[in-house]
Amino acid sequence: MTAHAHQSALSLQQLAPNLVVKVREGDLAKAQLALLAIGAGLVGAAWLAVGGKSFYFAYLVGYMGVLGICLGALFFTMVQHITRAGWSVVVRRIAENIAGALPAMALLFIPVLVGSHDLYHHWMEPKPGDEVLAGKSAWLNSTFFFVRAAIYFAIWIGLAAFFRSQSIKQDETGDPAISLRLSRVAAPGLLLFALSTTFAAFDWIMSLDPHWFSTIFGITYFSGGVMAFFAFTILLTRWLGSRGYLAGASGNAMSTEHFHDLGKLLFAFMVFWTYTNFSQYMLIWYANLPEETAWYEHRAHNGWSAIGTLLIAGHFFFPFAFLMSRHVKRNPLGLAFGATFMLIIHCIDMQYLILPNMGHGEHAAPAGEAAHGGFGHAFGEYLHTIGWADFGCYVGLLSLLVGIALMNVRRANLVPVRDPRLAESLRFQNI
């Protein structure tokens, strides 16, 4: 061992005397198995009980909600490298492990592929004489759709595997050159990530209503996903902390300071979601062009107007007031409540983006129905339209994601133990 390594090991010992480097052999295995079983069970039950088109739409809600978390994890990992961030080193391995679930997410994409003709039938089997779709057919055709999906997953899985494996390699070699290389790769990586995420959101959600278009749509999806990633990570690390890993005890890797920062980022991306969604809404409202306003018109019927209002209140006003104070973000229970709330709202956001496209054209509400009744009436209609599977698939896939993330957590060290900025991260304090 070199003198330098010896010295840094000593200082780490002083900074984090209770640092647990790895999950004990066999520990958390039962929890992992239970989570995977619950996840598979819930999704399977939804498939058996609901089936068909309604299942595919419910599955897409859950899938896009959970995919956003994985993509948020990949984004977080790359942003920490490109900014050469010091504070986040103890959190980064968890993000790497969540992004490490992307290969499994590619497998879990199969039901979307199987159901693609139910989900995307508007453009997969366009009505003859539809000139708008004829004009878009160079992009919106089945073959290119499948090829694009393969490209997106190749980019995401490649980036996630590269960043995680290099980080784990540094655990063994302690080579600081790895940190420099990762910060260099993060720049083109983020560019690829931004493009692939935007186009994936176009393909998998926006094309449900293929006449409609919004160039900001990819960012609205991304902002909600990154927000959900922070909520998910806060809850996952809290739970790991209760089992003695990563957080919990003082002198372990994560302290109140790191949770405070995760809380700030949760707050920031919640506001960013509002910013992008309002930007989209205001431009469409102002221009008032029928081909653009149609999307909001579909969301004025069948109770979705209540969900629009609920999202403004629950995805912005309430969490804005609740998470504003540093005392809440530094309070374990306060932050956990905020994170849980945002994960639920994230599901309702996905429902709002996806489900109103299921019925329209076939059994859409008669025009003008949205005009009377108010919030209570509309919310009742929403509850009537919605099925348990529209939440069940999300919870099931969330449970699968925790299980897969745990699998990754158990395989590697809990923190990048020889990252050159680890000491800085352990010492981190908010002023």
Partner: protein, 178 residues
């Protein structure tokens, strides 16, 4: 009566850890009007000095809320009441159009309150401060750390406070005059 008044006593320390220890001892000893002056932020020093949270956040909140109200009042009055113009079929006062201005005015007034609130709470600007009369205090921006105890402190007593600061390791302990 002389025309000079005691402002307080200042002691010099050589390191961040020394001033951290000293600040803790001074507040533990019962002094309340204690302050530390350092070349860079020292983590935990505000706790050692037993300083409460700054009220600046509340001022900024008030500034932000004032911005929201002013913007809404202005647009409601101008567009909806005083000089109504219908533009492209939109309501003269429509909440959608007011959001960007409301947001901007909230940020503007919150930002201005943050800057000038900070100046106000720090009693700035001022051209001189008695603490500059200490002969080595100029080193506070390079490599020395200073602890001050004000004469306004109820526990202040020139001779005793001076002995106390020397006993906790202060160098160049001196009374500064206003």
């Amino acid at each position: 009566m002389t025309n000079t008044q005691k402002w307080g006593i200042i002691a010099e320390f050589a390191s961040a850890s020394a001033i951290y220890q000293a600040a803790g001892k001074a507040t533990a000893h019962g002094y309340t009007r204690v302050d530390a002056h350092t070349p860079f932020p020292v983590h935990g020093l505000d706790k050692a000095l037993k300083q409460g949270p700054s009220p600046l956040g509340w001022l900024v909140l008030c500034g932000g809320i004032t911005g929201i109200c002013l913007a809404q009042l202005m647009m409601w009055w101008m567009n909806g009441v005083d000089y109504v113009i219908w533009v492209s079929g939109k309501e003269p006062y429509a909440w959608e159009t007011t959001i960007p201005i409301t947001f901007e005015l909230m940020v503007l007034l919150a930002g201005i309150t943050a800057v000038f609130g900070m100046f106000g709470l720090n009693k700035l600007p001022r051209l001189h401060h008695p603490i500059f009369n200490h002969k080595t205090f100029w080193r506070v921006t390079t490599d020395r750390f200073f602890l001050s105890i004000e004469a306004a402190d109820p526990k202040f007593d020139s001779a005793q406070t001076m002995r106390f600061l020397e006993s906790i390791g202060g160098k160049n302990v001196a009374v500064v005059e206003d």
